[in-house]
Amino acid sequence: MTVEAPAAELQGTLAPPRANGELVFAEPWEGRAFGLALALHAGGAFTWTEFSTTLGARIAAWERDHPPGEAYPYYRCWLEALEGLLDERGIVDREQTVDRAVHHRERPAGHDHTH
């Protein structure tokens, strides 16, 4: 996969995406989760059809069952699709991600610990 960056030509009268649309990512993690899927696909971890299919299934599951009034969490579905596919492929087990997140939470307390 290639994602070309035709940046130099996009000045002047041609509006940047933010002017002709809306903010691409509401929060930084959304952009990172998005980029991880692209980068893994570029590296051959899965095909784009495989990812899309997993994402579609995740979205359908949310549509069938979600707390009343919850806003449509597109990028959360994206992240869950990515986690699911990586787990299924044995690339990153869910437990490993949870362990790492636990470790990250403990960081502030652990990091200047002397014994």
């Binding site: 994602v3 070309e4 940047p16 809306e22 989760a33 449509y72 990250h104 403990e106």
Partner: protein
């Protein structure tokens, strides 16, 4: 530390993303520089202005227009636009009697290289369900009233095929340059929920 049962739900998406990124980077499956470049590119460089250039070029060059309608992906690549979710692009020509509108009922497939990432309304379950069922009403809600003589065609995107609507060139634009024309073309017109208004209208 107290023993707790941690599951994915214990952590916010931001924490989970950070954990995942950390593991993938450590294992060499993701290069942080490549990742940063991909994200920045989508935030800054990939957007509807790419599709607008394709549309404007098709308006001024009949041969390019024919190539675009024959093979959307090849025509987009001619102008340097390629990448993920642009594997197969079909350009849909709006005429006086046909208006095309694009949806992805399954998830949110979208021609990224030409339009960037989809807006929230495109991803919204209501749009995805209703665009197929009652397209005229949906278009009217977006402010687009189509005459009786205009047939509305709804195209459902898939992981393999993405669509770009080629809107009609507005009247009174004969003297405009290609760059000026491109500036008139909106994302909404290229998804088919709007037309391109004449300048100053």
């Amino acid at each position: 530390m107290a023993t707790e049962t941690h599951t994915e739900e214990t952590f916010s998406p931001a924490e989970r993303t950070e954990a995942l990124e950390d593991i993938l980077t450590e294992r060499g499956l993701v290069d942080p520089k490549v990742l940063a470049g991909l994200i920045r590119n989508f935030e800054e460089n990939v957007g509807p202005m790419n599709g607008a250039k394709v549309v404007a070029h098709a308006w001024v060059d009949p041969e390019y227009r024919a190539r675009l309608l024959a093979d959307g992906r090849a025509a987009a690549e001619e102008l340097g636009f390629k990448g993920a979710q642009g594997e197969a692009i079909i350009a849909l020509e709006n005429t006086d009697t046909v208006h095309n509108v694009v949806v992805c009922t399954l998830c949110s497939c979208y021609p990224w290289p030409l339009l960037g990432l989809p807006p929230s309304w495109y991803k919204d379950p209501a749009y995805r369900a209703r665009a197929v069922r009652e397209p005229r009403r949906v278009l009217a809600e977006f402010g687009l009233e189509l005459g009786e003589g205009v047939e509305v065609k709804v195209w459902d995107s898939t992981a393999e095929v993405r669509y770009l609507v080629l809107p009609q060139r507005p009247a009174g634009t004969e003297s405009l340059s290609e760059e000026e024309l491109a500036a008139l073309v909106t994302r909404d017109a290229m998804v088919g929920i709007a037309t391109v208004p004449a300048p100053g209208s």
